[in-house]
Each structure stands twice: as C-alpha cells, then as structure tokens.
Subunit: 328 residues, 6 copies
Amino acid sequence: MHFHESDYCNVNRIPVSELADGQQLEQAFRAADKQLRVNRQGGKYILLKLADKTGVLAAMLWNADERTYDSFDRGDFIYCRGRTQIHNGALQIIVSDLERMDPSEVDLEEFDRYDAAKSEQLVGQLRENFAALQNESLRRLGDAFLADDDFVSRFCKAAAAVTNHHAYPGGLLKHTVDMMELAKLIAPRYPQLDADLLIFGAFLHDLGKIDELAADGEISYTDRGQMLGHIVIGVQMLAEKINQLGDADFPSELRLHLEHMIVSHHGILEYGSPKIPVTLEAVALHHIDNLDAKMSSYTSVIEADVSADGNWTNYNPSIGRKLWKKRD
Amino acid sequence: MHFHESDYCNVNRIPVSELADGQQLEQAFRAADKQLRVNRQGGKYILLKLADKTGVLAAMLWNADERTYDSFDRGDFIYCRGRTQIHNGALQIIVSDLERMDPSEVDLEEFDRYDAAKSEQLVGQLRENFAALQNESLRRLGDAFLADDDFVSRFCKAAAAVTNHHAYPGGLLKHTVDMMELAKLIAPRYPQLDADLLIFGAFLHDLGKIDELAADGEISYTDRGQMLGHIVIGVQMLAEKINQLGDADFPSELRLHLEHMIVSHHGILEYGSPKIPVTLEAVALHHIDNLDAKMSSYTSVIEADVSADGNWTNYNPSIGRKLWKKRD
Amino acid sequence: MHFHESDYCNVNRIPVSELADGQQLEQAFRAADKQLRVNRQGGKYILLKLADKTGVLAAMLWNADERTYDSFDRGDFIYCRGRTQIHNGALQIIVSDLERMDPSEVDLEEFDRYDAAKSEQLVGQLRENFAALQNESLRRLGDAFLADDDFVSRFCKAAAAVTNHHAYPGGLLKHTVDMMELAKLIAPRYPQLDADLLIFGAFLHDLGKIDELAADGEISYTDRGQMLGHIVIGVQMLAEKINQLGDADFPSELRLHLEHMIVSHHGILEYGSPKIPVTLEAVALHHIDNLDAKMSSYTSVIEADVSADGNWTNYNPSIGRKLWKKRD
Amino acid sequence: MHFHESDYCNVNRIPVSELADGQQLEQAFRAADKQLRVNRQGGKYILLKLADKTGVLAAMLWNADERTYDSFDRGDFIYCRGRTQIHNGALQIIVSDLERMDPSEVDLEEFDRYDAAKSEQLVGQLRENFAALQNESLRRLGDAFLADDDFVSRFCKAAAAVTNHHAYPGGLLKHTVDMMELAKLIAPRYPQLDADLLIFGAFLHDLGKIDELAADGEISYTDRGQMLGHIVIGVQMLAEKINQLGDADFPSELRLHLEHMIVSHHGILEYGSPKIPVTLEAVALHHIDNLDAKMSSYTSVIEADVSADGNWTNYNPSIGRKLWKKRD
Amino acid sequence: MHFHESDYCNVNRIPVSELADGQQLEQAFRAADKQLRVNRQGGKYILLKLADKTGVLAAMLWNADERTYDSFDRGDFIYCRGRTQIHNGALQIIVSDLERMDPSEVDLEEFDRYDAAKSEQLVGQLRENFAALQNESLRRLGDAFLADDDFVSRFCKAAAAVTNHHAYPGGLLKHTVDMMELAKLIAPRYPQLDADLLIFGAFLHDLGKIDELAADGEISYTDRGQMLGHIVIGVQMLAEKINQLGDADFPSELRLHLEHMIVSHHGILEYGSPKIPVTLEAVALHHIDNLDAKMSSYTSVIEADVSADGNWTNYNPSIGRKLWKKRD
Amino acid sequence: MHFHESDYCNVNRIPVSELADGQQLEQAFRAADKQLRVNRQGGKYILLKLADKTGVLAAMLWNADERTYDSFDRGDFIYCRGRTQIHNGALQIIVSDLERMDPSEVDLEEFDRYDAAKSEQLVGQLRENFAALQNESLRRLGDAFLADDDFVSRFCKAAAAVTNHHAYPGGLLKHTVDMMELAKLIAPRYPQLDADLLIFGAFLHDLGKIDELAADGEISYTDRGQMLGHIVIGVQMLAEKINQLGDADFPSELRLHLEHMIVSHHGILEYGSPKIPVTLEAVALHHIDNLDAKMSSYTSVIEADVSADGNWTNYNPSIGRKLWKKRD
C-alpha cells in the first residue's frame, strides 16, 4: 500500500488536457487500458492508458510486478504518483506508484467524457429537427427512434470513430446533430434538393456506428463492426425501426432513398460504400459529411500536436501532411 | 398485313445461336426490345432485339413507320422476313417485314431461355446439398428458403448479371449450385475450413441478385438494385428469412458469419464489398466465386466471338484482353 | 436566297431549351460553330451548333455546298428552317434552309446567355461581401479588384468550365459568389476558421479561369490556359493586383495564405493542385468548392437528360453513373 | 565453456512450435541467423534466430562479446539456456548461455524442417500425376524432369517464399502438388479446359523459385532471383529441359502454352506477370494459385498469432487485416 | 477491267504523305489491308488500307461486289482511281475503280518503307559500336549477333511497335542504334556507370520485338508475342546466342546483368517489367529508352496531325493530351 | 569544462565520410542539429547531428543535462570525444564529452560543404551557356539573372532537396548545370527540338527551390515552400525577372513556353505538376530531369549504404528497392 486514503488529493487535480512536460503529479485517473509487458532485457513493466474526460495519455510503470498489475482492472480508478515527460514528441506519464481507488473516492464528473447535459441538449435539438420536417413519414420515423429509450441511451454514448474524428463517447451524437445543422443551412441554397430527405439522411448516415464500436472503456470494434461495418449495420437498424412502425405504412420509395443515403455516404467504393451516390441528396450528404469529418479530425490533429515548431504540426501519416497550426 | 397465318413456317426454324452470315430467313422471334429511331437524314427505322432461348441478335427494320412500331409490344412474338449480315464484326438481321404473332402460334419451348427442367434438377441438387449439411441451424435455414415457393420461383428465373457471367434467366441458380459443388470439392482439401459454412455461403452470396435485377424481358437493374446493390439486398433477404424462422432460435455468431460472407465476397472494397474477407471461409468463398465467374464469362466471350482470326477473339474491353480461342 | 427579310418570323420564337422532338421551326439562331464535313459517300454537309441564351443544339444541313458554308461566319445570326429530331438520345435540328441575318434583325436579348442584370447584382453582392470583411488588407484588396473595370468586365463574362459545372458566360461569377455565400454560412459553425480568409479564398480560388478560358463564341481553352492552367494563372493575377496596391503594404503571411488557397483548392495532386491543403481554411475551401461544383454539374446532367426512363438519366461517363432524376 | 557435453539434455526437448510464455529452457537449436548488434547505449548483444523443424523464434543474448559471437556459425547447432517471453506480442527467447554443438550431438531429425519421407511421397504423387496425363509430350516432359536427380533433389528442398505462403524447405513441392490436386478436381467441372495443360501448368508455374530462393540456412533471394524473378527463371528452366529432350520433338504451340502459363500466372502486371492470362487454362491456373496461396498464408497467420484476443489475430500489415481465428 | 495497262500513269505519282484534301488521283498503291463490309442498309463496300513507303491511308470502295474483292490479295499492288477527302478529321480516299497490278508494273522503290541502304548504314554503325567496346565478352557476343545473317536480316526489317513509336519496318533498328548513341553520349557524364554494359543493354533491350511482331504486311502481334511479350522473348534470344557462343565461356554475372537490363527496362511492373531496375545501368537504360520513345512517338503525333487549329494537335487519347505543334 | 583549448587536436581530423565502425575519435564537428530527449526510463540524452562538409551523422550523448544542452547552439562548432558504432545498419557516434568551440579554432574549410570555387566555376559555365544561345531574348534574360548578385549568391548555396538528390548547399547549381549539359548533348539528336528553349528550361526548371528550401543549417522547407512549392515559386521568380527586364520587351509566347516548362517538368499531376508537358521541349526536359535526378539519388543511396552484403544495398523504402552496389 503506497498511499493512505487520507492522502488522496482531489483538490487542484490537473485535467489530462492541461498536463505539460516535466510536471510532478499525484492524482486520480481512470485506467482506460493496462498491459503487462516485458522489455528487451526481460524486465516487466506496465503500459497504461490514463484518462479523464479531457483526454487520455500513455503511461509507464517501470519495474512492475504481477501483483501490482492484478491489483486493478481496466476501467478502474487509480491514484498515481509520477511525472510527465515528452517521448518521441508525445506527452506521457512515468508512474512511480499507483493504487486502486473506490469510485466513491473520485469526483465522477471529472472522468466521464460523456457529457450528459450536452447529450440531453443535442437530443432536444434532434427532437426539434424532427418536428420541423414537412414529410410526415420521416417525422413519424424520427419520433419512433427517439421514443426508443434503449436506442437513445446507446446513441448518446456512442463514439464516431476509434482514433479519428469525434472519437469520444457522445461524439457520434455531436457529429450527427452538426451534420443536420449543415444540412439545414445548405439545403435552401440548392432548391433542387429535398431538404427533409437530406436532413434525415444526416441523422441516419452513421447510426450503424452505435453497434460497430464498443463504447465501454477504450473505443474498439465489435465483432459485428469488424465483419459488417457501420453501413450494413445502419441499413439493418433502419429496417428494424421501420418494421416496428409497421412496414406497410412506410412509403417504399422513401425507404429506398434513406437506405441509399446510408449505403453511399462514403462517396466511392474504395472507402467502403458498396454503391456510389446516385441521388442529389446522397451526393450532398457525402460532401457535407466529408467537410464535417475533415474539419473535426484536422482540428484534433492541431490540438493534439506537441511539436516545437511554432507554425506547423508534426507530419501526420494518417492525413498525409503537416498542418499549419499558428493561430493569430 | 404482310403474312398470312398459314404462311407461318414453324418447321426448320433456325435457332439464333445457329444463324450465320448471309442467310435468308422467315421465322418467329421474341421481340426482346424495340426502339423507333431516326437516322441522320431524318428517316425512321426500328431497332430490334430478336431473341429465342439460344440467344439474342440486334435487328433493323429500315424505313419503318409508327404504325408498324405500335403493332407489337416488347416481349411479343413477331414473325419476321429478312436476312442476316455481319456489321462491324457482329451478326445482325435486316428485317424487311414483320408481324405480331399470337403466342399460341409459336412453339413456346423454343423461346424460353429459362429451362424449367434444368431448374427443377438444380433445385433438387440444392435440396440434397442442404440435407447433407452437418450444422442443423443451416439445414433448417436452407429448408426454409426452399419451402418459400415465391422465393424458389423467383430464384429459378433470376439472372446472375446483365451482360457478364451467367447473364440469362436461370443463370443465378446455375452459378449458385456450381459454386456449392466447388465448395464441396475444395473444402476437404483445407481442413481448417468449416465446410458447412463455406457451402452455405456459396448458396447465399449472390441471392440479392434476385431483387437487384429484373428478369422479365431484357435483364436490367431495378431501382433497388441500382441504389443498394445485391450485397446489401442479400443481407436483407437473409434477415427476413431468419426472422421468419424465429430470430431467437438462430445462433447469432453463425448469422454474423453468414452475413460476413455475403458482405465480403467481392474481396476488395473497389469491387463493392464494404468489408474485406476476414474469415477463412469468406476468403475461400471469394476465390471460388472469382474462379467460377471468370471461367463462365471468359468462355462466353469465346463462344460469342465472331472474329475471323482463327486463334484469337477480338479485343474485349470489359476483360481488357483478346482470348486464345483455338480448340484442338 | 431562301428567305425574304419580311419573312422573318420573330414572334413566338421557341427558345432552344424548350424545343422538343418532331417540331417544325423557322426562326433565328446564333451559329456558335460551323464545320463543313464530308460523309462516307463523299457528300458534303454542314455541322452546326445553333444557340440562343437558353442553350445550344447540334444541327445538320445535308447536301450543303461551299457557297452556303461561306455565307456566314461563326458567331453570326442565321435564320433557319428545319425540324427537330432525337438522334442517339440527343435532340438535334435538321436544317433545310439557312440564311445569314443582320444583328439588327434579331432581338439580341434572346441570344445573349450573358445576363448583364444578373451580373450586376452579383457584383453588388461581391461588393457587400468585401465591405463586411473585418480584415482591412483583404477589404482593400477586394476593392482594388472591383475598381479595375477591365477585370470586372472580363470576370462578369467568364465561364467556369468548358463542359462541366457553370459552363456559360457569367458562370464563373455565379460560382464565385455562391461559394462566398457558402463560406459565410459555414464559417460560423467552425470557430477555428478565419472567416475572412475563407470568404476571400472563395473569391480568389477560380479567378484564373478568366484567362484560362476564352469566352467569346464557344468556350475553349486559351494557349495560356492549356499550358499553365487556372491555378498558376490565378496566382499570377493575385500577384499583379497586390503589386498594384503597392507590395510593401500587404502582409506577406496573409498573401501566402491566399496563394495557398488558390494553389491547393483541388485538394489532391491528381486533380492538378501542386500542393495539398495544409491550412484549415484551404481544407474547408476545397470541400465547399467540391460541394458546389458537384451540385451544379450533377443538376445540369439531370436537366440536360433526354432518356425515356422516367427515374434515371442515361449513364454519364464523365461522372461515372446514372442519376436518379425523378422529382416528385 | 558454459556446459559440459554430458549436461546436454536431449530428452524432452520442447519443439519451437510448442514453446509458451515464461518457460525456462535448456536445449539445442539450430542458429538460423546471428547478428552482433549494439544498443543505443553502446552495449553489444547478439540477435539470433533459433530454429528447429517446427518453427523459428527471435532470441537475444544480452551483454554479448565478440568471442561468443565468433564461437559458432550461422547454421550451426547451439545449446542454449534461457527463458521465453512475449515482447510486442511476439514470443522470443532471452538466452543467458549458449555453446556450439557438434551435429553428432543432436537428433538431426528434430531440426530438419525438410521432411524427406513427405517429399518422397509427394514426388511419388507427382510421378503418378504425370503417368495419368493423356498428352504424351507432356508425359515425356514430366518424366524428363523426374529423371533429373539434381532437379528433384533441389525441388524437394526448395521453399515457395521467404516469409509468405509455404515458406519452408519442401514448401514449394507441397504447394506444387497441392495445386496439381486442385487442378485435377476442378478441370472436370469446366469441360472447356484442357485438363492436361492445366495440371502441367500447375507443376511448372513456380519452378523458377528453385533458383530464385536460396534454401540453405535462412530462405533468401539469390542474385538471380533478385534480378530476374522466378517467372523468367521458370521459362529458362523449361527451355533447358525441352532442349535436353531434343527441341525438335516438342510441339511448339504446346510449348508456347506452357510458357504462357508460367509467364501470366500472377494474373496482372502489377504483381509481376509481364503478360496477363489469355488462355482459359492460364486464367484457371491463376485463380487456383491464388486460392491455394491465400489459404496457406492466411492459415499461417492464424497459427502464428499470439494475440490475447480470443476471436481475432493481431492486425497483419502484409495482408492488410485482422483475421477471425476462433475455431469451435 | 477498268484500266488498260497502257493507262497506268506512273509518272508524277503522289506519295501518300503528300496527299491533301480534295485531290483527284489515279495511281498505284499497295493494298495493305482489305475487308468486305456491309453497311447498315445492307449494301457492300470494301474497306482498304492503301500504302506506299511514305504512309498508309484508309480508303473506301462503295457499292463493291465480291468479284472485285476477290480480284486482289492483301499485299498486292492495285491501281486506283479516286479522290481524297477529310472525314472526321482524317484524310481518306474514296476509290471509284481499282485493278490488281503485276509487281513488275510498279516502281518497287516507291512502296517499300523498308530502306535497305539506311539499314545497311545502321548495321555498320552497330558494328562500329561493338568494335569500340572495352569488354571482350560483349564484343564477341555482339559479333556473334552480327555474324548471324538470319538475325541481321530479320532485325533490319523489324518494327518497334504496332502503332506507337518507330512503327515501321526498320524502326526497331533505328530505335536501337539511336539508343546506343544516347548511351554513348550519356555514359561519360556518369562515371559510376559501366559504359559498355549500358551500350550493350541499349542493343539488347528490345530485340524480342523481332519475334513479338510480324513484319510482313500490316505490323501485328504474333501468337508468341501475344503470349510471352518481347521481354521474355528477348531473354530467350540472348540465351540462344550465348549458348551458340558456348555457354561456359560467357561470364555468368555479366550475363545476369544483360538479362536484367532486358527484364527491367520498362521501369515498373505496371508496364510489363517483371522486375524493376536494380542496377544503375538498368536505371539509366530505362530512362533513355523512355526519352527516345517519347520523342519519337510525340513527334509522329505532331506530324500525323490534320487538325485545323494552327497551334495544337487534336486531343490524342493514347498520350492523353493535345500537343503544341506550331514550329517557327 | 572537459577540454582545454590547447587539447584541441586539429591535425589528422577524420572527415565524416571516412569514419568507420569502432573508431575512437576526438575532433571538431558542426552541430547541425540538437534535441534534448527523454528515454523511456525518464533519463535525458542529447540527440545530435554532427557534420562536416563530407557528410552528417547521428550522434548521442547519454545521461545529458540541460546545462550541456544549453552550452551550444545549432550551427555551432563543438569539440567531441567519442566512438563510432553501427546501430540498425547505420553508423552513429556515441559522444562522451563535448564542448563548444569558437569558429576561429576550426579550419572552416573542412566544415563548409559549400564549395565556393566549384560554384564559381559552375556560374562561369552558366555564363558561357547563356552566351552561346542563339535566341537574343533568352540571352538577355539569362544575363539579367546573372547580373543579380543576390540571386547568384543564393542560387550558389541552394540545395536541390532535403534528403533526395543533390541534397547539399550548392546541389541545386550542380543539378542545374548538369541538366544544361545534358540538354546540350541531347538537343542535336532531336532536330525537332528548339535547343535554346530546352537549355533555358533546364536552367529555370528548379529555380524555385532557392526559396522553397532554407539553406542555412539543416536543409528544410520554408513556409512558402510548404504552401506553394518550387513550381509555383519558380513561375513567380521568372515573372519578377522578366518584369525587371521591362515586360513589354519580352516575347509573350516565349514567356509562356518558359513558364510551361517550369510548370510541367514533374511530368504528371501526381508528382505535383499542375499541367502535363505539351511541348516537345517540356517533354524532353521532364525526361532528362528524371534521368539526372535518378542517377544522382541512386548513386547517393549506394554511397551511403553500410550493409554487410557485398552485392546489395539495404532495402531503401524511398526508392522501393535494394540496389546492386558491387563495382568491379
């Protein structure tokens, strides 16, 4: 036992996003992941991911033993003493001591990236968006989704990606509502578009991610996500909901248009859409999805960058470029 | 009126597949397609597709009028007088007279590419294949498909493609049963494969084509086929059938494997699979599909070739090559 | 001489966009192009493009002689007698007689696709957009462009493409102002963007097309357009204007950002951008350009489609798909 | 000297394929490779590949000196004391002591991946396959290959790849005979195929690998393999053998077909075939090669996988995916 | 019989390369190709290729009968009356009468594109290039090629391509000697190159085209060319010649380098090289081949262009561009 | 203080290019780069790049402190004690002591890769090349560049790349003059080329690199280089110089040809040319650039290679191959 409970210092906890190089720290984290590893010389160490709601950092406990490793589970809260350092351009924590905490000992609000109030507000916005639709079938379908408590609760906590854009619990809902707002802004500029269709397509396009990604602990692919992908899953979710409505009532051509927007929203086959967009609404949906996803992920790259160069981020292989990061 | 019914010569009708250059002919065809066109000088002509069960040829009726054009519908039988010729390397028919026939006047057996006896035999083979499966869930699922008369009847008449491999009514069933035979031959050579899974995957992989392609008259894409594609439709058909079985009874992991084989059978994203194969059975299925489809389509190219060169077909842009066609 | 001037029937002229199959017509057109051709049998005919402000159609005068061919120049107005027909799915005109007209004999307003009033309104919108910029340097630069009468006049009449989106005189201005409106709508949703930069980038991105494309008569590439392209030309035009402002006054980093948005707006090297976007504004600009260009060109494809199929356009090779064209 | 010969413990030697994490071991290995390396701090260590016939593992001897490094050669047998551990998801051995052994001290049968009995059996199968050919020229050519003792002996020991499918001495023979079996199974299903040609093509297609890869010690490319590749080498080997037969006797068109199957069996130019398949036999050969190579390499990936996740292998960059590895 | 022999006008024959639009002509041609075709209305016509040594033009004899078609063979000389015209931007000849000529009636020198004197001179240059080599093995090998009369005679008449660069009898020799000259110029600028190797590689690189292309009549692929390609054939030709020298005498590493230059000279797999260049000489060879082939083919495009636009050729799909053709 | 000035041993300094494995050394270097890093255990070390004019090597000072790190700046001369070793196949230096030196203490000539005498000679060659041009406008333009002292001085010191071909101060001038020599050699072989244009294009093609790359210290991209690239910058530099000449005097078509050669010299869009070459001179320029760049970079790869294998370099990912390095 390295700490006494009374030692826990919950005041002035530094959020992960505000940690800087060379800081001593002694505070609580959520152990988002843990692995017992062996270095080349055969020594054991624990590789950790330490998280709070503002972010996640890699951490190392050198010269670890299996007892320490077994003393907590993934997802537990742990109290850590250590210091930060930059290694290969990324901030990490060298932990010298750690100890499992009881959830009652932490301020849960600091650890849950999932922001219930924010989600509630976004669901409200969703509800308003549905209410404003002209097309009654779509309005009823939207309401049916919102009336499904299990769906709403899982939707609220879903992430939109493992490492890319909106990669946090609640990220999917945020991306979805943002897309609907873009759809509402853009539709009036192109009268050839059926605005309701585009807005509802924005709602549906990524729903399959609710089942593609496991949201508990580290975001990761489910078996079903790995084998079917969110596009096929999304089509299945839509089918289920329409079936609940009573299949007969829902216009079949409208359903086809909704399914097509899900199926084609990646724009080209190479990106996993089995069909390319062939309706104007599907074309528009693809482009505003692209815009929103790129703005979100590129901004994350800039925010996460720790390079010393004042003007440029490090080269980021997943986006194939350095980004200009200087803001006036 | 150009012919008298008594003039109809149904004896010695030359099947389309046996027509050669420079033949006079006077016999019945099915009008698979008709278009009234204008040439550059403003003269009207009718462009036809004349078919029987052995094939289809383009045909022209020069100096046509609208009355003639309106005198028959697509799909009708017409009695034609004309002669064959080769134009741009393809055989065609120059029609001088034509007249709508009553179906009672033709030997229907000569016009229906769909071979009911063959289909019945193939369905029998399907039934045996299902009966031989070890896995009871798959056996029950297979039986459920066969118990669905509407499904069986549409499956029997479906084509596997518009212009490619197995592009004729009944072609899908043929390709499906051939694939299952390949699966049965190959599975024992790779004990790491779950033979039942591979065999059932062969059955399922292209089922979506039943709804992707319209089989009546010329084979063509349905709206749903164009917007969703046979992969997504196939997943939907499987869901429906499993739902009918009673969802609860069917093992969920097994279902996932079946869905995955449908989803990934094109092998790569560029060819319209939203996910690449990640199970050994899906990998094997992709490769035997590729083998059977290529053997079928390349053989069709050779059979349809009319080039004068004894050793080689004409260059075929869709397969990007000439084929060696000389057979000893 | 085939017509007497008194014969000219200027009343009830049918605009090109309203012509349908099988119409007799006798009215004025602009001869957008003319070619004297020989058919395979050696007969001469004139291939024409007949235009008014609503569109352009191919036309043929069979059995033409050189005297007729020489009787008018490209760009002249000609009075034609003929009829329309559909050939290979496209509407064309078979001209039986034609005669050069004096411009005084036509209602010029019907032939000029360039809509001066519309352009004036768009330039006004441009002026307002510049006035609303926070950044003084950009505001001054924008005003300098508008103060250059020669620039404004050429900008107003420029097309944005030869055959693609906004392919008509005035199309570039329309696309430019539409892009600025999109930029104004979208910028507030992404506070990480410098709105002024994005809006000004929208103004600049395609300016090089003023010199890349010749706007008189048929839209076509200039030598300079062919050899440098509108991206390099655009950078040159910006340099010239900044030089006129007095180089010293303009912030060099701001200039670099403007140049970068021009240079990178095609998004990837394969589409002719020598550098990919590395600023958030350049990334956003690329995506809204893509959105606006696709919405414009796909809508044109639908509007221009003459296929008989009620739901789908013909397959369009340049966009690699058929489009759903049914509107409720 | 760390061990006494009498210490050698040859009983209960654990085969490489059965080693697990955290085992102490003291037993003989073949030193498939050795490198003297310097770590970042300047300390020397020996990086080894320790092999027996069941597999190969990386191993490290820390704090090594040059005397130890020089005490044995690549290919020698060494007696090692050490323990296993998992590092970055792969099993490795930390060696604490090692000593060169005389070959007489080991049970050679345990170290020779090359399985002479298996090879003999496969050569027998080859002989039967040749005997069953209808085509006399091919039968004679096959017999000529088998009559060439040097060829047979090198063929038996050749590997089919450095790291991919069938990457072990004898792997080429195994892959070749497996391919011939597939050819024999599949040919009857496609009567349009010349079965003899396909079967003989399966025999020939990868023969060039005998000279492309050096089989002694670690499998690696020869200079000739690097500069010409097994396709060109294979064509050369066929030429030599036909020349020995007496060139005049062998039908030239048949020879061309054999050469073409070698040349085109990779299917597309991008994979190193200078010509794509243009005969049905070459097309079929490419596809069954693909099937057998993929089944072999993917199964190897699954067998070699040490990830903790029960359902999935680690992501494997060379095949671009994780594989489902759970077997019921 | 349309002409009397005495009518033959051999004076002032206009070479094909000097024919212009709208000329009446009555003179001899070689019938490089002939096809009896049927037009859409069923009328027969003969499609001809009329050639002399300066070029080849398409020609049409309308309203032809089979007797006329049978009155001459491909390759015969025919006397034609007709006139030239431009059709779809290409010059062609409308033939009104034609008649087979006896070869004795024509000035053979005017019809043979193959220029014996030129070839003799180029072979002389080849001989000098070989004599100047430092490397004795290469000198002997070169002499062996030149001592082979059959080889020299076939080499002299070979074309380097069907439609691309140096696509005429003698073109291969020209391209080969030009490449050797480039090699001689460039090698001294890069002392790291083995000049002899590069020069000899230039000699060898395309030799396989002698057997890949049939040079009699129209240039076309042989069966062997189609199935193996000139790279594999070239390696075979080198092997044969070295075997004749006596295999034992030729340094094996030198041979490997020669083979590698043949194998890799297309530079990348996608262009049909089964291996990419890995020696500096092979890298240099690829680049000078590229330079010479492009200069030759692009110049041909410019010379063959008949577009009216003074500055630009028509768009040429095989090179994916228009070329600037204006020469001062 | 680890050394006394009197200790400095400037005699027998070993140039970087001659250092070998396992050498003790004590001598001066230029600190081309320095980074303070933390290893996984939290220990600090300095990562250095130690350079002289013959090359640059990575170096490590273990167990460093911030005082040492701060005791010298990038670009300073430092006196080092240490030893060389090979790590992961690359030579590096383990530094045990280091100390900043005053520039007066080193023989500057040994550290400046920039060779002023060589540059002077190359500028002389440039001057002669310009003097030999037939085209007066080009001669005047060339002289104007040479009359600009600032330009000449920056050109002399510019590198042609960061890590690729001619990646050293002075490398751009070398590449440029080499290209001009190639142009002079090759132009006479293709009379269809305008030699002056090609030679001047060779001069201009990479000039933009003067501003794209920062030459002081480590070669790296400038902001402008990153955002515009040397192609766009090169066009801007040409414009400036022509403006200085007095725009009116310079023939506009000639200018367009010069600009086009700069713009298109990468040959294809994928490599960053916004337009592909459409003049014969631009085509030729692209190919000789390719040849010279490849010969230079591949030779560098061979020279820098430290693999033990006598025949082959290590696999080099940036060129996608191993190179044959054995020289006789």
